[in-house]
């Protein structure tokens, strides 16, 4: 650890400010708390919100894991993991079960999380109503007055156009029967996992919003009575580990149209293969 940095890069006052926003977010599940987002040494869209939330949550004893689209070895994941190795000196891991703080982009780990873990999401656009109602003043009012009819208009449009709810990621959810929330661009396959034992924090750096889903909070995916929510999944087992319950990526393997489906969660896949070899 380089001593020129304060622990976890941010100064203590900033972390205090972020923690206050997190506390407020936890008390009002799904509510977007504004916070004074700082410039981070990475571009917007690379997880500046998530990094600030992680920085405010980390302690020297924590074990940190970063995933990007389920993988531990992609650019975004590697750079953020290195960032905290350097500025906080915390232990890092790729094992979901060993981590205490997990920062994620676009996935929830397949392995069930526990009460001792914190899952931090990187959120590009926190406002679920953004593309339906462009005025921020109006969307805030709609949240305040619980006017969420418009959210169903989006789902209606999906069915009218595609014959089913075609929204496959960033699928809107209602948290604890009150606030409609954008769960960040996770696939809708992950939506049921939003009801978790772990604390889930969402940070949007550019948009300067933090929101949270406390452990065991009720999270319901919006749907119609005659078109119920369906967490869809590619109809294949994983090519590498054979898992039939995980979210799959489609990978093109040659230029002759060859393709395989593999687990998007690399840690889950690797752990399964290890076990398979041992057995």
């Amino acid at each position: 650890m380089i001593s020129n940095y304060n622990f976890a890069y941010l100064d203590e006052q900033t972390k205090r400010m972020i923690r206050r926003a997190i506390l407020k977010g936890v008390s009002v599940p799904g509510y977007q708390v504004p916070f004074a987002s700082r410039e981070m040494p990475m571009p917007y869209g690379w997880g500046t919100g998530g990094v600030q939330v992680s920085a405010a949550c980390l302690t020297p004893d924590d074990t940190f894991k970063v995933i990007d689209q389920g993988a531990d070895d992609t650019t975004n994941a590697v750079s953020i993991r290195k960032f905290f190795e350097k500025t906080a000196g915390v232990a890092v891991t790729e094992r979901t079960s060993d981590a205490t703080v997990i920062q994620t982009r676009h996935r929830i780990p397949e392995t069930d999380l526990t009460e001792d873990q914190i899952l931090v999401y990187q959120v590009p656009i926190p406002e679920p109503l953004r593309f339906l109602e462009p005025r921020e003043t109006e969307t805030r009012k709609m949240h305040a007055l619980e006017e969420y009819g418009l959210m169903h208009v989006k789902l209606y449009e999906d069915i009218a156009k595609h014959g089913e709810i075609a929204t496959a990621y960033a699928y809107p959810v209602k948290v604890e029967g009150r606030y409609v929330m954008d769960p960040s661009p996770i696939p809708k396959f992950d939506n049921p996992k939003l009801e978790s034992a772990a604390l889930q924090l969402f940070g949007a750096g550019r948009e300067q919003r933090i929101y949270a889903v406390p452990p065991y909070t009720k999270v319901v995916s919006l749907d119609f009575e005659d078109y119920p929510f369906d967490p869809s999944r590619a109809d294949h087992p994983c090519e590498l580990c054979g898992a039939e319950d995980s979210y799959l990526d489609e990978v093109i393997v040659d230029d002759a149209g060859g393709r395989i489906f593999v687990c998007s969660d690399t840690d889950y896949c690797a752990a399964r293969r290890e076990k398979g070899e041992a057995a």
Partner: protein, 265 residues
């Protein structure tokens, strides 16, 4: 002696008392008083800048008023002052018992959402969560405003001006409002489309027994639609009365000017 007619007092649907709105020192509208009874259509005419749109926006709660009362006979709690009502209640009224038809359909429609979605939005806003039912209802309403069912999934941006206006009307009437505010509903449409729209509006208003307040500068529109007329000038109401009475025998100098200014073909 004729048999005494038993009179049951009718509660006005909308009761406006001393409504005023100022833009700084300038008058928007001043001391407006009127009653609107169920099933009645009130026309508000006047030149540009006479305060008629200001008045309409104050009534509908789109603009804050400076003083006065706007008492609406709500379904649940009887007469209530909508100006002192809490905002959630007023917005609830705005999507159930009230409807607002804008002059420019682009203000009242969501242009990036299909016709069916536009009509269905108000249903979903009051809690409809069954896709099949919503679509059925939207289809019914499109038929009522003479839009072909095959256009239900098209965006209004591809519609003609007249169709957009009819779609806006369908979208507003789908929740069965009791009071419709219309701001120049036929403005910007050519005369044949205007005639068709007026015909449709007259039919809907009569069949559904709606009350309506129509703001327009087009005397032909109020002649066709309105039972009663209010003439405004400089933010003041200068003349009121039955439509035919006001138009055939105007009393105020401004009304006389207005009536005599209509071009004859």
């Amino acid at each position: 002696m004729t048999a005494a007619v038993k009179e049951t007092p009718v509660t006005p649907l909308l009761e406006v008392r001393n409504l005023s709105k100022f833009y700084g020192a300038r008058i928007g509208c001043e001391n407006v008083n009127f009653n609107l009874y169920p099933g009645e259509v009130l026309g508000i005419v006047g030149e540009s800048g006479s305060g008629k749109s200001t008045l309409l926006n104050c009534l509908a709660g789109h603009l804050p008023s400076d003083s006065g009362e706007v008492i609406f006979d709500t379904r649940a709690d009887g007469p209530q002052d909508t100006l002192t009502m809490s905002e959630p209640e007023r917005r609830m009224l705005g999507r159930t018992d009230w409807a607002f038809v804008h002059q420019n359909p682009r203000d009242g429609l969501r242009m990036r959402i299909s016709a069916g979605g536009n009509v269905g939005e108000r249903l979903m806003a009051v809690g409809a969560r069954h896709y099949g039912d919503i679509r059925q209802e939207a289809g019914d309403w499109l038929a009522r405003v003479e839009i072909d069912m095959s256009r239900i999934d098209d965006r209004p941006s591809g519609f003609s001006g007249g169709m957009q206006q009819r779609l806006q009307i369908a979208r507003n009437l789908v929740t069965g409002p009791r009071l419709v505010f219309m701001d120049e509903p036929t403005g910007g449409l050519d005369v044949s489309v205007q005639a068709r729209l007026l015909d449709l509006l007259r039919g809907l208003v009569r069949r559904l027994g709606l009350s309506a307040i129509i703001v327009t500068h087009d005397l032909a529109v109020v002649r066709l639609l309105a039972d009663r007329l209010m003439v405004m000038k400089g933010g003041q109401v200068v003349e009121t009365g039955l439509t035919d009475q006001v138009l055939d025998d105007p009393q105020h100098a401004y009304t006389q000017l207005l009536v005599s200014s209509v071009l004859q073909v």
